[in-house]
């Protein structure tokens, strides 16, 4: 398609006078405003979850109990994870989807705008309930974010609050996912066939399918917890014929697709950034699409690799081991394609590209440690150690969160109409990447040496690595203040961005002016 900045015809703007204040933000039906709300919410939750993480790292700076008691430590690990997974990563990607999907497919808005707004506004209320649980007797849930029975059967009122909060987050996610699917399938500009869709659109389409398929299963699992707690059922109680392992099966049937829900949109984002800064079209577009679909399919048949040590039949262990290893094939296809896209490209290293290369490199490390964990006999050694903690932070922080940071720098000029400060952006990248590795790389060694996760205290032989990790964590956390400063200063001013922003990037979003007007594509563009 042509990349001439043909400022689109916006003659319809007089139909919708731009609302202000409460009407604009709380009553919005505009995908850009709702996207902004999601992104701000996600950033706020990232800071909150990060603060919890720093409490954990402060306590673990040295062995023994320094600042908090073990029960509060458990609350910190639990709520840190719940806030990061359901508050920071998932809403963050929904924010990107809201902002970018209609622009990328040439639609005037999301397909169901009022439902879109409802999806967002449920979240602050759901998280208020989760955070309020710190103030009830017994404190916040302390069972780990997986809320395993029987710990959660025995917990106090906070477990019920977590359950109802999760129900609300689930409603929000399902409505958001329905909106994405309908937008992508129904609102593409004429000529944009499925195999011409940008990869971020593809990855979100598949992510949305995963969300609709597994969020209700999670709702079922926590409902069983609730009835076991209050209505005398025996789903997870062996005395009545139940089995706590049943909870783990249902949870991870949700939980494993959930981790792909958190990474597939990240794959989409960097599949946009790398071609732009390598100045080459994405290598192997259709293999990227099929690899994404293959990952999504496999995600449904690998869940029990989270519970190898629970006492499954041998056939089960073998099946889930091989199925899990199979995922490295489509994931490898993706990494190969990103690297091949860069191969002999005219590369430049602006901040979004630095983050993307960081993601390709560090996510792959997380993938490799995942492959180690997939080996059943080896997992008996690694299970529930810091090796697992290191693994999922490599895929979730340096995969999902860093991809979102890269995406923020990539599209911030489109959102705000200003260029961010490139020098500060690069400093932010290097601070983040280095501090991240200082924090989490030593945790591999801790795990291999046998330090179990979710304990407030540890054997003194682990002290040195833990101190590295804690120092890194504080650097990582405070580096993000720079990120917030860069975002705020870009919103408030800076060099004017052109419509294209970058050097001849691909995609319909670059054909509208920067900042993108309140309403875009009232009349759909034609894609050749």
């Amino acid at each position: 398609m042509s990349h001439a900045a043909t400022a689109h015809d916006h003659h319809d703007d007089h139909d919708h006078p731009m609302p202000t204040g409460f009407k604009r933000w709380a009553m919005s039906t505009n995908h850009k405003d709702i996207g902004t709300l999601y992104l701000i919410f996600s950033l706020a939750m990232l800071m909150l979850g990060g603060a919890f993480a720093l409490v954990i790292r402060a306590e673990l700076f040295q062995p023994g109990l320094q600042y908090i008691d073990p029960h509060f430590f458990n609350q910190m690990t639990t709520v840190h994870a719940l806030v990061m997974v359901f508050g920071a990563v998932m809403p963050g990607f929904v924010g990107f989807a809201n902002w970018m999907l209609p622009l990328m497919v040439g639609a005037p808005d999301m397909a169901l705008p009022r439902m879109n707004n409802w999806s967002f506004w449920i979240l602050p209320f759901a998280f208020s309930i989760l955070i309020l649980s710190f103030f009830v007797p017994g404190g916040a849930p302390a069972s780990g974010w997986t809320l395993y029975a029987p710990l959660t059967i025995q917990g106090g009122m906070s477990v019920d609050m977590a359950i109802v909060a999760i129900h609300m987050m689930g409603i929000s996610s399902i409505m958001g996912a329905i909106n994405v699917i309908v937008t992508v399938l129904n609102m593409r500009a004429p000529g944009m066939t499925l195999m011409k869709m940008p990869l971020f659109v593809w990855t979100w389409l598949i992510t949305a399918f995963l969300l609709i398929a597994v969020m209700p299963v999670f709702a079922g699992a926590v409902t069983m917890l609730l009835t076991d707690r209050h209505f005398g059922t025996a789903f997870f109680n062996p005395a009545g014929g139940g089995d706590p392992v049943l909870y783990q099966h249902i949870f991870w049937f949700f939980g494993h697709p959930e981790v792909y829900i958190m990474i597939l949109p990240a794959f989409g984002i960097i599949s946009h950034i790398i071609p732009t800064f390598a100045r080459k079209p994405l290598f192997g577009y259709s293999s990227m699409v099929f690899a994404t679909a293959a990952i999504a399919f496999l995600s449904f048949i690998v869940w029990a690799h989270h519970m190898f040590t629970v006492g499954m039949p041998l056939q089960g262990e073998l099946f889930f081991m091989y199925a899990t290893m199979l995922i490295s094939v489509p994931t490898g296809v993706k990494v190969f394609n990103w690297v091949t896209t860069m191969w002999r490209g005219s590369m430049s290293f602006e901040t979004p590209m630095l983050f993307s290369i960081g993601v390709v490199f560090l996510f792959t490390l997380g993938g490799l440690s995942g492959l180690m964990l997939a080996i059943t006999p080896a997992d008996f050694q690694y299970h529930d150690t810091y090796f697992v903690v290191a693994h999922f932070h490599y895929v979730l922080f340096s995969g999902a969160v860093m991809a979102m940071m890269g995406g923020t720098y990539y599209w911030l000029p489109k959102w705000t109409g200003h260029m961010y400060n490139e020098r500060l952006g690069k400093i932010h990248f290097w601070l983040t990447a280095i501090a991240f590795n200082v924090t989490f790389f030593p945790q591999h060694f801790l795990g291999l040496a046998g330090m179990p996760r979710r304990y407030a205290d540890y054997n003194p032989i682990f002290t040195e690595f833990n101190q590295w990790s804690s120092i890194g964590a504080f650097c990582l956390g405070f580096s993000q203040l720079l990120f917030i400063y860069i975002i705020i200063s870009t919103v408030r001013g800076g060099k004017k961005a052109t419509a294209e922003v970058w050097d001849n990037p691909e995609g319909l979003e670059w054909t509208v002016p920067s900042p993108a007007p309140f309403h875009t594509f009232d009349t759909p563009p034609t894609v050749k």
Binding site: H167, H230, T233, G240
Partner: protein, 295 residues
């Protein structure tokens, strides 16, 4: 908005309902969690939430109905896709409970019987109330003290009320389809009669389901606390009952709208969405009848 021609996608103006509904949802959730933990304001907060949610949804749907003449075929398609995916999410919700039933019956109970460590002598069987309820299942009906103490329970005869309910739901799907054919043939009177019959059958089903629950609790001694059998039985049939209630309510609203002349032979998406939902609860019931009552 009326100035928009039919080739523009309908983007609604700002609306307070989503935000207000989120507050109502907060009241329901927070009120529910408080109520379960014996906090005094819990039930009040929950009631406020439910009433608020009902009123808000009534207004929200009302505004959608009012603006519906402006919807073009693209919007119609969005609604159809949205409803289909919503039903898919409901399918997955029930899948969790059917999956739990499968796991408990075919894996958990046999494993509990296999190991002699925890409950020596426990034999695998289904229905089962688990090791502590191993001796509970009676041949005949338990007497009233046994029900009071929860020491005996009997099973629901699948060929009595459940079979009747199966017939009712299957017939209601047929009457609903006849009504659909009638509206497509622009025969409003026929459509109203058959739809009214469908709604009536739905409420009769719910009546018998309530009857069955009362019988289970008062005569058979079968409760939610009757081990995993009672758990799976009441959660599966209970959630199905909630969904029938919702479906019957949707069809009732559709019936009232039909009587007001809201639908034409070509445009009657609300009817179709309600019908899809009704067929979905019907299919779930057939699954329940086979896997919960008969097998």
């Amino acid at each position: 908005m009326a100035s928009h021609s039919q080739d523009h996608y309908f983007v609604p103006d700002s609306s307070v309902y989503p935000f207000a509904c989120s507050i109502a949802l907060f009241c329901i959730a927070m009120g529910g969690a408080s109520y379960l933990n014996g906090i005094s304001f819990g039930s009040g907060l929950m009631t406020v939430g439910f009433i608020g949610m009902g009123a808000l949804l009534f207004r929200w749907f009302g505004s959608v109905i009012k603006e519906s003449p402006e919807y073009n075929m693209d919007v119609d398609k969005s609604f159809r896709m949205g409803m289909s995916w919503f039903i898919f999410s409901e399918v997955m919700f029930f899948a969790a409970f059917f999956g739990a039933l499968y796991y408990l019956r075919n894996l958990a109970i046999p494993w509990l019987a296999e190991t002699e460590l925890l409950w020596p002598g426990f034999e695998a069987s289904w229905p089962s109330a688990g090791p502590i309820g191993a001796e509970l299942l009676t041949g005949g009906l338990p007497d009233s003290t046994e029900i009071m103490e929860g020491t005996k329970y009997a099973l629901i005869d699948p060929l009595h009320l459940p079979l009747l309910n199966t017939a009712i739901l299957l017939v209601s799907s047929v009457t609903l389809t006849i009504s659909h054919h009638a509206i497509r043939a622009n025969n409003r009177t026929q459509a109203i009669i058959w739809l009214a019959l469908t709604v009536l059958l739905g409420f009769i089903f719910l009546f018998y389901q309530a009857e069955e629950y009362i019988e289970a609790y008062q005569i058979l001694g079968l409760t939610m606390g009757t081990g995993v059998y009672g758990s799976t039985f009441f959660l599966l049939t209970g959630f199905h009952g909630f969904h029938v209630t919702l479906g019957a309510f949707i069809l009732l609203v559709v019936l009232l709208r039909m009587m007001k002349g809201h639908f034409s032979a070509e445009k009657h998406f609300a009817f179709e969405a309600g019908a899809w939902y009704w067929h979905f609860v019907d299919v779930v019931w057939v699954g329940l009848f086979i896997f919960v009552y008969i097998l």
